[in-house]
């Protein structure tokens, strides 16, 4: 009897606890339930971005308290974040409810950005910035890159990156290597480094893209700037011999062991660290890596010791001189449906001030004009100079592909360079994922 009563009490206690916790949640949920990231609140400058990017939100918050105070008072900034891997899913879900925020990261692949634009979710910035009278505050090169990537001036150039090959000046000098001009020079340089016990090229096979960038670099240099546009338009196939040649050239680097061991499991940090501790002689990377180079604890080879060169020419190729690939980072679009006059105030202010503000506070190079004198280190200056000297740039391997082909390409890059997949198989896999 006694135990029975105790059991009943236990049960009651359990039920009571669960009711209490329900109430607790109700209160807790209520207090944080202010509409969240979904509804673009009328009076809010809502901004959905990937959690990995802290530069843009931080800088916008700085602007909100300074140059853009008027705009921010009328329409306070509200930042929401999602992990980048989940961004595409959230965009699908939010767009399906017509609930995209005012400003948002518009997808991991340009194909998704274009799809969003086609469904009327993306504001035409060319017309809007012209109306606001600030179109001249954006670097023309950045606008060109955006148009080539996204089919129109649809996203803001919060970043403007050039990609090329960074090299260790000391290691080059020690081994008597001149900065390679052609692909053959490049392979010879890698060979010299390899013989002297240095990993020639540091690359993250886990990420995949640092490897496929080499394929596209070769393609653009060999076949010309429109090499991949032709593939996207269906005029050429990746399985054509001249395309497979590029994959074979990169696979060959892997066969010779120029990426070091276990390239497939090298992650982004490791790749950069191998370059910065002097284990690797060269690194293909975009100019965003300057932030790592400027980290004195990480950079053991010294800032002065790093050089930057364009992608080597393939001899007899149809490519452009000084070939750099360019991009604007993860694209940030403005929702056409949520745009209004107050948002225009914000947009105008960002366009006028973001360039110098981001460079001064974060050392981040954007596609907005720098309107104030900013002190930067010599390497950043070199990169800035490179950007302003570059009139023509190329895209990256997957830029014009759909997400499916992008995934196929980036996940199979490591098998390609480790030799478990032949160049023909690789190109065939990517080609068949192209729709």
């Amino acid at each position: 009897m006694a135990t029975m009563r105790r059991k009943n009490r236990m049960l009651l206690l359990g039920v009571g606890l669960s009711t209490a916790s329900l109430l607790l949640t109700a209160c807790g949920a209520g207090s944080s339930g202010d509409g969240g990231g979904s509804e673009a609140g009328a009076g809010e400058f809502s901004f959905l971005t990937n959690v990995e990017n802290t530069t843009i939100p931080t800088e916008l918050e700085t602007l909100a308290g300074d140059q853009c105070k008027t705009a921010a008072d009328a329409m306070p900034l509200k930042v929401d974040t999602v992990p980048q891997t989940n961004l595409d899913q959230q965009l699908q879900l939010l767009a399906g409810q017509d609930a995209l925020p005012l400003q948002y990261a518009a997808g991991n692949a340009p194909a998704l950005t274009k799809e969003l634009a086609a469904s009327g979710n993306v504001l035409d910035l060319e017309a809007t910035l012209t109306d606001l009278g600030v179109l001249d505050q954006v670097e023309p090169a950045a606008i060109d890159t955006i148009k080539a990537l996204y089919g129109g001036f649809n996203v803001l150039p919060y970043q403007y990156n050039v990609e090329g090959i960074w090299y260790n000046k000391q290691l080059f000098a020690d081994n008597g290597i001149e900065v390679p001009q052609t692909w053959d020079d490049f392979v010879a340089a890698a060979d010299t480094l390899d013989t002297s016990g240095v990993t020639p090229l540091s690359a993250s096979g886990e990420q995949g893209w640092p490897l496929t960038r080499l394929i596209s670099g070769y393609l653009f240099s060999d076949l010309g700037k429109d090499a991949l546009q032709k593939v996207a338009d269906g005029e050429a196939k990746l399985t054509d011999p001249e395309y497979v040649e590029a994959a074979a050239a990169v696979a060959d680097l892997g066969q010779k062991g120029y990426f070091g061991e276990g390239v497939g499991s090298i992650d982004y940090d490791t790749a950069i660290n191998q370059f910065l501790n002097g284990e690797a002689g060269m690194l293909y990377m975009g100019s965003w890596v300057l932030a790592n180079f400027n980290d004195e604890a990480a950079n053991q080879i010294g800032l002065d010791n790093i050089g930057f060169m364009p992608f080597p020419r393939v001899e007899g190729g149809a490519g452009i001189e000084n070939q750099y690939a360019a991009n604007v980072g993860l694209p940030m679009a403005i929702s056409e449906k949520a745009y209004n006059e107050q948002a225009g105030e914000w947009l105008k202010c960002i366009t006028e001030n973001y360039g110098s503000s981001a460079l001064a506070n974060q050392g981040s190079i954007s596609g907005f004009k720098v309107n104030e004198e900013v002190d930067v280190d010599p390497l950043t200056q070199t990169v800035q100079q490179t950007i302003s000297d570059t009139s023509e740039s190329v895209l990256w391997f997957e830029a014009l592909f759909g997400t499916q082909a992008t995934t196929a390409s980036q996940t199979n890059a490591a098998p390609l360079v480790t030799g478990s997949m032949s160049p023909e198989q690789f190109m065939d896999t990517v080609q068949s994922a192209l729709k």
């Binding site: 595409d88 899913q89 965009l91 699908q92 879900l93 767009a95 399906g96 409810q97 991991n108 998704l112 799809e115 969003l116 086609a118 469904s119 979710n121 070091g260 061991e261 276990g262 390239v263 497939g264 499991s265 090298i266 490791t270 660290n273 191998q274 284990e279 759909g402 997400t403 499916q404 995934t407 196929a408 996940t411 199979n412 490591a414 098998p415 480790t418 478990s420 997949m421 896999t429």
Partner: protein, 294 residues
């Protein structure tokens, strides 16, 4: 008496809430998504009717074939591994460690508590080859074997996944099965022992039959969990190298949300559901038969 056990009002009170929540939150969305099987497109650009295109595509898509074969191989190997390891552990708890098993049980259970992200990181580091050799490669080097690029090819990556998932879940199944073994009445074991049954014979003739119900629910539970594996593979290999360790769930998720083809994604989910259904009905049938025999 029967009328009390069949009291309709009581039935509504006891079963109603669960059935209602379950139907609204799971069944309706399931049928809703099934409907998309006949459409192509996604929530951004809208859906268009596609007839049975998606279903026929299932049969010709080589990616589906790879994913299906991986899923089945994974489910079989992991289920066998989880159940066998879990059962051996639970036998050890009951018959060897007896009362002192508490601390061991807790320790072996411990990996279940770890977040998937942490377990995957651990295994990546243990099996890494670059920039330094991980623990496993160092041990191999110690006995004169060259380092292996574990995540570099499909079959070694598969075995690392297997090892990871068995490691993290065997303690869980051990506790689950232990609960079943403890319920076996001591006097039945004692009388069998007096009959001279010891060791394996005791286990085979008494313990195994008596723990059958909990063993069978563990198997159903395990096979359905492993057929739908998602988190641990995403965190460890993200389906690589290439797409060689991509299960159906990951392919479905990518197709629906990254590739923007929700209809085809739903078709892949349908395939997976059918697979689970067939396997479960098979096990369910055999478990029912076993119970009526008792």
């Amino acid at each position: 008496m029967q009328s009390v056990l069949g009291d309709k009002k009581a039935l509504v009170i006891l079963l109603g809430p669960a059935l209602l929540v379950y139907s609204l939150v799971m069944l309706v969305p399931i049928f809703w998504s099934m409907g998309y099987t006949f459409f192509s497109g996604n929530a951004i650009s809208g859906f268009t009717f596609a007839g049975t295109d998606n279903l026929t595509r299932l049969f010709t898509d080589p990616e589906v074939r790879t994913a299906l074969s991986f899923t089945v191989r994974y489910a079989v190997v992991i289920t066998v591994g989880q159940i066998v390891m879990g059962y051996l552990l639970s036998l050890m708890y009951v018959f060897i460690l007896k009362k002192s098993s508490n601390i061991i049980r807790t320790l072996v259970f411990f990996p279940v508590v770890l977040p998937t992200v942490a377990v995957a990181l651990l295994f990546q580091k243990m099996f890494e080859i670059a920039p330094q050799n991980g623990l496993v490669n160092s041990l191999l080097n110690g006995v004169g074997i060259e380092s292996v690029d574990w995540f570099g090819n499909a079959s070694s990556a598969f075995w690392v996944i297997v090892l990871m998932d068995i490691w993290r879940s065997m303690g869980f199944y051990a506790v689950l099965l232990y609960a079943g073994l403890v319920d076996i009445p001591e006097d039945m074991l004692e009388s069998a022992r007096l009959d001279g049954a010891t060791g394996w014979r005791l286990i085979r003739s008494i313990v195994l039959p008596l723990s059958m119900p909990v063993l069978l629910s563990s198997i159903i539970f395990s096979i359905n969990g492993t057929l739908k594996v998602f988190d641990s593979i995403v965190a460890l290999t993200n389906g690589g190298p290439g797409s060689s360790t991509t299960p159906l769930t990951l392919y479905m998720f990518r197709t629906s949300f990254a590739f923007g083809d929700y209809g085809y994604g739903s078709s892949i989910a349908l395939l997976l559901t059918l697979l689970c259904l067939i396997v479960t009905i098979f096990i369910f049938r055999s478990s029912r038969r076993d119970l009526t025999k008792d």
